[in-house]
Symmetry: C2
Subunit: 621 residues, 2 copies
């Protein structure tokens, strides 16, 4: 036997296709073991057996008996093939475990491109080149004082104070640079000094629940030098915000652990981005971070309990200027991080950033601006008046709670067309299909409706299409069958999947409808719909209208703007006017709590129906 | 045998009178062992065998052979009795070691009393009581934003920002206090919130090389609630500043270790002071710290290498406002520490604080203001014009480099009178004599001069007094002989001690003389001499004049002001006017480097002579 049993309480585990041999501790689930080993297995529900995301295959060895969650998650054939939920399975012997790519949170498609907006350069940090005189017995000037004097000589009032971290290195630095340096001042405070050739950089970060997008900007030109997207490693603590908040509240160090996960990812991203331009993160003189309110609070170690309880108030709404070291960011010694304002507990700084970036689109007329995600934020702007709401759309559009749903990674089915007798699909990178991602799921719903496979109520009709079948009393539509899948399980859309999608869609559509009613505006009066975010960039507009996710308007009234939150963060990074304007937008936005809207229930029920709506179908206000 | 040999490389050591049994590692000196065990044995020279301060007695067991430093430090009888220098002795068997109280740095007399100066209360932190409304679905206000709004309602513009550490607890705090609290604002920033009954406290600290004095102040009344003095634990890394700077530069973590030693002592002091008034250090809303430039730099982790090299410039001279957390002080969450300005590399913020506290004394006329210590800072104020200098007086007046010198602790001889045939002395607390402390040493020098035992050149004259004797070719004056000492070694003043005292005195007196010459003022024109500091409070003025340490002036022109640096720190704590005035004093003070003064050498040589001087005795400018 090639595996080794180490002591009584540890079992060797061999991980495929990672090619690692490690040890699993006694009493440790496969999920806990993989997390301990740094393997980022997806866990939406935080290890409770509910999300069925942490699928692995036991190739050799034994583990604990199947739990009821696993019996629900897998078919008989899958169980026989060795499939397990990593959170439910506890090894009882040395094991060989297959970790499928769709269960990993690496190498996902992350959108970092956004709108391009022209703005006058007006950065928070100014650069001054100074040539100092070395002190002598006849000219006794303390190092920091001499630097401030020189700065005030160039720009009176600029050198009022100097960050203590700058003073902590100033003496050896000035001597090694032969008393010539660049001084970086923010307002009247010196936040960094560096050799004269140093280019001041800025970092804009869009901290999403799922993805983190980072932009490295040259503060002397405003140009974006590099952009990068990574997955938010907090995902391994739970996919949705509420699970993560529970995690933060559940144990004394819970919040700290989540904070460090996100923070380390941002610091690593800063390092990676700087490497690409041959710089060091100490050249980053300012950073701007946006994120939804929960991400914002978790990153800043703010209290989150009140976010999860009615009336769901943030600890703070206004914009913040914090020393980067107080956030834990490893950038220039005295640098600040600017945090855009939140609107409410579930409409955060990322939505404000999106509004900032898309202002040209909504400054006139009646505009809906939305960012579709696990939580969908929607604002209706009526000639400058902003009303915002938050829709609990859930992760169905990101591939979760969907039987064969996956994230938008290699091999994910992103487009689906249902033809008379069959089905056609495209996968990301043209790879063999591993499951269906959000845009594919949305396509499927529309195509199944148009093909008569489901009705407006969402019922899947047996016999309506050759690909509809009944499997263990469950009706499903087969996208990739056993023959086409090359030995892997088939990929299907089940009746239950359709129900999940109906709930997700209804959450968003009812939010839009309530905003319209609240503002006394009809669907047809909408001049423009701005759709931000990764998912929003990839969806097919016609299909989205067909299922009633989006209002029934001519296609030219829609604008897909990509990661506009990232663009907004960049604007606030390079322009102090834009930054203060973001503060105004945050203040102006009026939040309404959908669940307390009087007609919420009937509107939601109506929005569960699939397909476009007549104005008369909605309950009147 | 009652001691145990543990392994090949460790020896049990029994410590008396501490009553502890511990282990000494192989290759570890007794000094290193005691430091590791947390026993604060004095070490002036940092373990080099030079200062003879770390005397211990080996009662049982064996140690390494005597070093040449030990042969110099002890008499034959002392060596036979088992006396060792802890830094030179390495145990080679289980041992029983006596650690005499005079070698410990605990329970020393530390002066915390200072001048009392009346000042209008104008504290940096203001207190506001606010009653907030709990947020509801119809009144969605974020916690921090609601607090700032309420504050701005009371005092417009006060609530512009709120420290991130305050926001980190605000939500559970406001809820547990039922939305009623006191808000503490510094300028336009909220730095803390607390239950409404909380009294805002302030902490003033005088961080001396040897002693740390702390004052807990009620910021709502300006009243000093408690004061406390402790020894600076950095002493165990070396008594004088230069040894500590070498220590900080010598190893990568050296500076950090010294910083932590002082910081921990200040944090512990804050905790102890607060306990005495039933408060918690989180109620300390502001702190002010003063210290000499080296202490200042070591506490703030500033670079010190350039302080030790000509032209001896500080990293920073100006006053600093730093978040207490960036210094490491554990006080209110968003509190600041204000650091008074330095004047130069060897005239620090403590001297500025002393000048601030004594301004009433020097605002008119010609005044000498000095703080005598290991380093003696002197300012000459000529109708408001301040010229400052630093004198390397060394630790002789603190009892070091003096054969039987001790610190001012219980049993130290603090007063000496030499009579025709004998000697009389007083000890601290009337305890049996253990050695001579600074004021006693100064008395002895004057009394020996007046009794004709030493001449003006400092030579001890054999046969001049029954107590003069020759011991192993060394001339000495016996203060406490073998019969009087009750079995302990005799206490003597040696010829070498007189030489050490001459150098210390000359350093100070030549500094004063150079300042006078620099300002074109004669000794007799001095209107007042202000003497600050612990040593200066205890010295006998007549004796100090008699040896020429102080100018030869009528006694009513002298004023001993105790710890005026501490008083100055308190003033800067409770009065923003005084604080900004301290900044002006720091700016106004002109530093002169004594060693570069043209007539330094001949003035110093003249000042080595003991006794008052005629104006004509000094080299002309």
């Amino acid at each position: 036997m090639e595996t080794v049993e180490k002591g009584r309480n540890e079992f060797e585990v061999e991980l495929e296709p990672l090619g690692r041999r490690e040890f699993c501790l006694a009493g440790e689930s496969i999920l806990d073991c993989l997390h301990r080993l740094g393997v980022d297995l997806t866990s939406v529900c935080g290890g409770k057996g509910k999300c069925h995301a942490c699928k692995v295959k036991l190739l050799k060895g034994k583990a604990s008996l199947f739990s009821s969650a696993e019996l629900e998650a897998f078919t008989r054939e899958q169980i026989e093939a060795g499939w397990r939920l990593a959170c439910q399975a506890f090894p009882t012997s040395p094991c060989k475990i297959f970790v499928p790519p769709e269960s990993m949170i690496v190498s996902q498609r992350v959108q970092v491109e956004g709108l391009s907006v022209e703005v006058a350069l007006e950065p928070p940090v100014k650069t001054y080149r100074v040539d100092l005189t070395a002190p002598s017995l006849s000219q006794l000037v303390a190092d920091a004082d001499g630097l401030l004097d020189a700065l005030n000589g160039k720009d009176p009032g600029t050198g009022r104070s100097i960050d203590i971290n700058v003073i902590r290195n100033i003496s050896p630095q000035l001597r090694s640079w032969d008393w010539r340096c660049s001084v970086f001042a923010r307002g009247d405070e010196v936040i960094s000094i560096a050799p004269q050739s140093t280019c001041p950089l800025g970092l804009a970060v869009d901290l999403g629940s799922t993805k983190i997008a980072g932009y490295l900007v040259d503060l002397s030109t405003g140009r974006t030098l590099k952009a990068k997207g990574v997955m938010n490693p907090q995902i391994s603590y739970g996919e949705d915000i509420i699970t993560r908040i529970s995690q933060a509240m559940g144990s004394p160090g819970g919040g700290k652990e989540l904070q460090e996960a996100a923070l380390n990812a941002i610091n690593q991203m800063a390092l990676d981005l700087c490497k690409e331009v041959d710089a060091h993160p100490t050249s980053i003189m300012e950073s701007v971070i946006v994120g939804n309110t929960a991400m914002h609070h978790l990153l800043l170690c703010l209290p989150v309990e009140q976010l999860a309880l009615s009336p769901y108030v943030p600890a703070v709404r206004k914009a913040l200027d914090i020393k980067a070291r107080d956030v834990g960011l490893q950038i220039a010694p005295g640098a600040y991080t600017h945090i855009l304002p939140n609107v409410a507990g579930f409409v955060g700084a990322d939505h404000v950033a999106m509004l900032l970036a898309t202002e040209a689109e909504w400054s006139k007329g009646i505009v809906i601006a939305m960012d579709i995600g696990t939580n969908t934020e929607v604002s209706l702007v009526n000639n400058g008046q902003i009303v915002s709401a938050s829709c609990a759309s859930g992760p169905a559009f990101e591939g979760y709670h969907i039987k064969d749903g996956v994230r938008a990674s290699k091999g994910a089915i992103e487009k689906i067309r249902v033809t008379r007798g069959g089905v056609q699909y495209d996968t990301i990178d043209g790879a063999p299909p591993i499951g269906i991602c959000g845009s594919g799921i949305l396509d499927a719903m529309a195509q199944l409706l148009l093909a008569g496979v489901i009705d407006r109520g969402g019922r899947m009709i047996e016999g309506s299409h050759p690909r509809v079948r009944t499997n263990q009393n469950r009706t499903e539509f087969v996208v990739v069958d056993e023959k086409e899948s090359g030995g892997r399980p088939p990929i299907v859309i089940t009746q239950k999947d359709i129900r999940e999608l109906q709930l997700a869609k209804a959450a968003i559509r009812s939010g839009v409808q309530i905003l319209l009613q609240h503002s006394g505006v009809s669907e047809q009066q909408i001049d423009k719909v701005v759709i931000a975010g990764a998912f929003g960039s990839y969806i097919d507009l016609s299909n989205s209208i067909a299922i009633g996710l989006l209002p029934s308007l001519p296609l030219d009234r829609f604008k897909q703007v990509g990661n506009a939150a990232g663009t907004g963060a960049k604007l606030a990074l390079v322009s102090m006017s834009k930054r203060s304007h973001a503060g105004e937008i945050g203040n102006r936005a009026n939040y309404i709590e959908l669940a307390t809207y009087p007609k919420f229930q009937p509107i939601f029920i109506q929005a569960c129906n699939i397909g476009p709506y007549q104005a008369t179908q909605w309950p009147s206000p």
